[in-house]
Each structure stands twice: as structure tokens, then as C-alpha cells.
């Protein structure tokens, strides 16, 4: 029977497919015994399911790349180990043999036994590992049934669940899920941001009843723009769905056309969109999409995963190629941003810092290691002979750091000129604003820098004293805090007053949902991953800058996250 649920559209796109319901406690399996003669067959069936899951996880690992490979890969490694864990496997075989339980019930008993031990632990971290075990056991369970009923995986299905973790989003998409519907969550959560960056339709916050009312295999029509979820759609709904699909295809074409269009607001102001990049492909894509330049080129990859430092020559070639790849558009290269939390094998970063986020990292590390900064600066200065290049310093917290690098830069420029290298007349030196001290004391040292780039990911983490990867903190980590809004606004205003270009290069710059807010705060330059560049351009082209800026006072008056979210909802541009 046709039924409708309305949630919040968190990631656009329309999907029509069968439902796959994931209940909060996924393993509601009744006690089931099997006859003795089926025991060995049941064990074979179980191991076949485990082998299927192992293959799936391996295939998924192969398909991940870039930043996702790092974030999600860690979960996958852990899950692969859990899957092959002797505690898990031997226990299961034994339960089936001695208890004559079905594989399903053995899985449930095993899950409950392990979970009870973990849940009794004092340490919240260990308690929450039950989630990992649940995910692994849930996968085996799903594989058991897939095999029996010949049902495909989540590929082509619509997942209905109470929530999804950020790390799961990428996994599910790689497995071919068509859309996700959750009963909790916010359109500004980390999961929603990820879903949008992957173009995976997502509806959050549908009524709790959805989990009971929707059954596995029900046909659902999901509209990620309006948040409408229809169970067993009728002929009219199907027509509407087809219409939306055609509309989306048309929209994608239009979006593609925006490659050659300016990023101009309704009231005729040009906004600059720069690309964050760390590979040749990123640079090529940035160029093809009509980015104003590269706003943040990360150099860490040159130093990670190897045993010796890259020499000046190797660095020079990489930086030169980025500059050449952008054919005269501005390229901003960030000096090495390593800390104890990144596993370099060169022995540059300290190994056993008690608090790596507050340790010897970024420009601090570059200044502490003899020769490191010099080699990187020489390579950068040599590359400046091939096109406009700017140098960006990470993790700046004092004026001295900038001045020390500035002095070294001058020295290097003089040397290279004397050695006969053709280098740029002037190489702008900028600072990342990610340490709150730098943002607050900006008036004291803005005179020492040529441009600024606000790294919101770290700025939010340091300002709110909230680790973005700590699940126990829930939604405490968010850019939607009045302290963040005010500080970002102050930095932008001061930079403009002093005539210094300022960009935002954190995750929020790449999500069109945050664009009206950042425009209202005065931002004129965004630096983001190329994947969402055209969508951001489209959103900005629907924004009226003067009108948004006239509403900035209301944004600054917002007293909490709910107030800021309300402002964002009220000021979202209507996109035709």
C-alpha cells in the first residue's frame, strides 16, 4: 500500500529501488536448531558467507582512493582482521557443532557474548568497539542470506537505517547503494557533507516509524532534494520520478556547461574558486573546470611513505609541473604540514609526542629541522620562474615564524638569482589561519603576510577543543558555533581592510550549503576539492551578495547551532 514519509533532503538525487532495512540491533534472530546431519553443511555455508564478505571488503579497498582511502581504509583493515579472527571463527564452528544451532543463531550468540564483555569495560573507547564487531557480524549475516535467496548486495538498493557513520557512506557508495534514508541526523552533519561530495542521494530525519513500516524488498521512491520517501509508489509517483531523473540529467548537463562560466553572483560580483589539489589529476581537473587557480597544493605526499627525504631537484620538478599545469593561473603551494600523527618513515616528525595536535607540526617542524625548509624553499622559488606561485605556511601561531621564513625566502631568492636561475620578481608569502591565537592576534602580524587562508577544519578543532575524529564527542565538532562564525568574520574583515586576499580552504568551503553563510561573512575566495566546484559555482550564481551581507547581523546574533542552522535554511538560494 502506498505510504509517504517526509524527511530532510540532505543530498540531492532521485532513486527508485528496493529497500534494505537495517534495524538498530541488526541481529534479531530466533533460536533455531538444526539436525545433526546438517551440521557440517551449515559450517560450510557459514564459511562461504565469510569468504564472500572477505572478497567484498578486498574489492572495496581496491576501489577507494585519495583522502577516503586513508579514512575508510583504516576501518576496513580493522574489519578484515576481525573477520579472520580466531576468537570469532572457532567459536562459531563450535557453537554450530555442539549446540546444533543454525549459522544465524550462532552468529547472534557469538555477537552477544563478545558484546557483553566489551560493554562491561570501563573504557568508553573499548565499549564502542562493539559497533565494529556488529558491522562485521552484520555483513556475514547479510551474506548468508544473499546466498540463500540469491539476493544481490546493497547494490541497486536503498538503505533504510537509524543512522549512518561518515566512514560507512563511502563504503556503501562503493558497494553500489542507490540512496540512503535515515531516521536521525542533520543535513549539516559530517555524513551529509560526505554524501553530497560523493553525489549519493540522502534523506535524513524521517519519522522513526519508517523503520517498522518499511520492509526489506519494498519498492521505494526517494527524492534527496525534497526529502520525500514513498513506499510502493503508484503510477503517478513513478511518472514524477521519471520526470525528476530527466530533470537531473538535464541539470548535470547544465552544470557541465558552467565550466566556462564565471562564478558571478546575481548582483554581478565575481567570486574566486580555487582548487585544493595534491596530484596531477587534481590539477588537470581544476584546470578543466575553470578554477581561478590552485588555492592549496599539499606537499605531504612527497614526504610520506618513503624512507628518505625528497631532494630539492625532485621537489622542484613536482612544483614546476603544477605551475605549468595551471597555465598562468595562480598556484598556492603549502609547505610541509607534517606532525606526529602522520606516519612518515623519514624520521622527520617526532614519534612519541603526548599530544601531536599541539606538538611539533607544520611550520614549527619545518623550522626545527635543519635543511628541510631551505630545500623546500629553493625548489619553490625555482618553480616560480614558470608562472605565478605563492607560498603558504601551515600552523602559524606567531609573527616570528612568518618573519623567520620570510628572511630565509629572501636569502634563497638572492642565492638563486646569483646562480643564474630565472625566478619570479616577487613571491607572496601567506599564512594558514588555523591556530586560534593567529586569528585573534591577527592585527599584530597581518603586516608580515601577503595573504591568508583560513583552514576551518583545524581552526574549529582548536577553537572548540573538539577532536573531529573522536566519535564520543558526537556533534560537538561543528563549524556552526558562534565562536567560529565570529572569528572567521573578524579574520575576513581585517584582511579586506588591509588589502590582503583571504580564502577559506577547509571542508566547509567545498559544501554549497555553507556558501551563503561564508558570503554573508564577506568571503570572496573559496578553495575546495574539484569534485564539488561546479555545484558551488551554481549556488553562488544564485546568491545575491548584497542581500546576504545585509543579513550578516542576524547570523552573528545566532546564539547556538540551531540558530545558525535556521539562518542557513532561511537564506538558502532557490536554485532553478
Amino acid at each position: 500500500m502506498r505510504q509517504t514519509f517526509v524527511g530532510h533532503g540532505a543530498s540531492r538525487g532521485s532513486a527508485l529501488g528496493r529497500a534494505r532495512v537495517r534495524l538498530p540491533h541488526a541481529l534479531e534472530v530466533a533460536e533455531e536448531h538444526i539436525p545433526a546431519k546438517r551440521v557440517e553443511g551449515e559450517i560450510v555455508r557459514l564459511h562461504a558467507a565469510i569468504a564472500t564478505v572477505r572478497e567484498e571488503m578486498f574489492a572495496l579497498r581496491e576501489r577507494l582512493h585519495g583522502a577516503l582511502a586513508h579514512e575508510v581504509g583504516e576501518f576496513l583493515d580493522l574489519h578484515s582482521l576481525l573477520l579472520d579472527d580466531p576468537e570469532l571463527l572457532q567459536g562459531l564452528d563450535e557453537l554450530i557443532r555442539t549446540g546444533r544451532y543454525s549459522a544465524d543463531y550462532a552468529l547472534r550468540l557469538q555477537r552477544d557474548r563478545i558484546a557483553s564483555v566489551f560493554q562491561a569495560m570501563d573504557d568508553a573507547y573499548f565499549r564502542s568497539r562493539v559497533d565494529d564487531i556488529d558491522q562485521v557480524i552484520g555483513r556475514i549475516h547479510a551474506a548468508l542470506h544473499r546466498r540463500d535467496a540469491g539476493m544481490p548486495g546493497v547494490a541497486g538498493e536503498i538503505l533504510v537505517s537509524d543512522n549512518v557513520a561518515p566512514a560507512e557512506i563511502a563504503q556503501l557508495q562503493a558497494q553500489g547503494v542507490m540512496a540512503i534514508v535515515t531516521t536521525t541526523g542533520s543535513i549539516l552533519s559530517h555524513s551529509a557533507i560526505l554524501a553530497r561530495s560523493l553525489h549519493l542521494p540522502l534523506v535524513v530525519g524521517v519519522a522513526d516509524g519508517a523503520l517498522q513500516r518499511i520492509n526489506d524488498g519494498d519498492v521505494l521512491a526517494v527524492d534527496g532534494a525534497t526529502g520525500n520517501v514513498i513506499i510502493e509508489p503508484d503510477a503517478n509517483d513513478l511518472r514524477a520520478h521519471r520526470g525528476r531523473v530527466r530533470e537531473l540529467a538535464r541539470e548535470r548537463k547544465q552544470l557541465h556547461r558552467l565550466r566556462r562560466e564565471p562564478t558571478r553572483t546575481l548582483d554581478g560580483i565575481d567570486i574566486k574558486l580555487y582548487a585544493n589539489a595534491e596530484s596531477r589529476d587534481d590539477v588537470a581537473e581544476a584546470h578543466a573546470l575553470g578554477a581561478a587557480g590552485v588555492g592549496l597544493y599539499r606537499t605531504e605526499f612527497l614526504f610520506l611513505q618513503r624512507n628518505e627525504l625528497p631532494d630539492e631537484e625532485e621537489q622542484f620538478r613536482v612544483y614546476r609541473d603544477v605551475v605549468l599545469g595551471m597555465t598562468g593561473r595562480a598556484v598556492t603551494i603549502r609547505t610541509l604540514d607534517l606532525g606526529a600523527d602522520k606516519a612518515d618513515r623519514t624520521g622527520l616528525a617526532l614519534r612519541d609526542e603526548p599530544n601531536p595536535a599541539l606538538g611539533l607540526r607544520g611550520v614549527r617542524l619545518s623550522l626545527a629541522r635543519a635543511g628541510l625548509l631551505e630545500a623546500q624553499l629553493r625548489a619553490l622559488v625555482r618553480a616560480s620562474g614558470y608562472g605565478p606561485l605563492r607560498i603558504l605556511l601551515p600552523m602559524v601561531s606567531t609573527r616570528e615564524e612568518v618573519r623567520t621564513v620570510r628572511a630565509a625566502l629572501k636569502r634563497v631568492m638572492v642565492q638563486l638569482r646569483e646562480q643564474g636561475h630565472a625566478i619570479a620578481e616577487n613571491i607572496p608569502l601567506g599564512a594558514m589561519i588555523e591556530v586560534p591565537a593567529a586569528a585573534i592576534a591577527l592585527p599584530a602580524f597581518i603586516g608580515s603576510v601577503d595573504f591568508l587562508s583560513i583552514g576551518t577544519n583545524d581552526l574549529v578543532q582548536y577553537l572548540l577543543a573538539a577532536d573531529r575524529n573522536n566519535e564520543a564527542l558526537g556533534s560537538l565538532y561543528t563549524p556552526l558555533h558562534p565562536a567560529v562564525i565570529r572569528l572567521v568574520r573578524n579574520v575576513i574583515q581585517l584582511a579586506h581592510k588591509r588589502g590582503k586576499p583571504v580564502a577559506v580552504c577547509g571542508e566547509m568551503a567545498g559544501d554549497p550549503h555553507f556558501a551563503p553563510m561564508l558570503l554573508a561573512l564577506g568571503l570572496m575566495e573559496f578553495s575546495l576539492h574539484p569534485a564539488t566546484l561546479l555545484e558551488l559555482r551554481r549556488t553562488i550564481r544564485h546568491c545575491d551578495l548584497a542581500q546576504l551581507q545585509s543579513r550578516a547581523p542576524a547570523l552573528l546574533r545566532a546564539r547556538d547551532r540551531a540558530g545558525i542552522e535556521e539562518w542557513i535554511a532561511e537564506n538558502a538560494p532557490a536554485i532553478a
Binding site: D77, L78, L81, E87, D122, F126, I133, A343, D352
Partner: protein, 89 residues
């Protein structure tokens, strides 16, 4: 058989990532290995087993390795503990 007393000295203790490293290290050897702490002995080649120890920073554990390649296996584990699992992040 080799027995060795070890101290968990990385800040987060034997949490998932450190445990994964331990299990991965041992999986390259044929010898069997156990860890004993707080009166409980677990299979050191099992990530669940090791996590169930809930061994935080400062916990004393006893490593026991037995098999034809017990010496290099034990050495690899000792070195992993000494390197604080290469992380402390």
C-alpha cells in the same frame, strides 16, 4: 617457548589500531602466541582476544610465544611495544 614481560607504554593502550598492528605482525609467523594480563590469557593473534584485555597505558602484559620461529616472532612483538606501535596519535 619464549616468555617476556612487556609494558604497554603508548598513550592509548592496546586499542584497535595498536591491536591490529600486533595481530598483523604476528600473522607473519607460524608460532602460536598469547598475552596474559590482569589474570586473563588471550590469543595474541586474535584482535578480539587482545582487545578484550582492555590493556591501557601502563598495563603489564606477559607475552608467550611457542613454535619453530618463536625467536623472530617474539623479537618483532618486543620491538613493536618498544616503538609504542609507531603512533601515539
Amino acid at each position: 617457548m619464549i616468555e617476556q614481560e612487556l609494558t604497554v607504554s603508548n598513550r592509548l593502550g592496546l586499542h584497535a589500531r595498536a591491536t591490529a598492528k600486533l595481530v598483523q605482525t604476528l600473522s607473519g609467523y607460524r608460532s602460536s602466541a598469547t598475552l596474559t594480563a590482569k589474570g586473563r590469557e588471550v590469543n595474541a593473534k586474535s584482535i578480539m582476544g587482545v582487545m578484550l584485555l582492555a590493556a591501557g597505558q601502563g598495563t603489564q602484559v606477559k607475552l608467550r610465544v611457542e613454535g619453530d620461529d618463536e625467536e623472530p616472532a617474539a623479537q618483532a612483538v618486543v620491538s613493536l611495544f618498544e616503538r609504542r606501535f609507531d603512533e601515539d596519535s
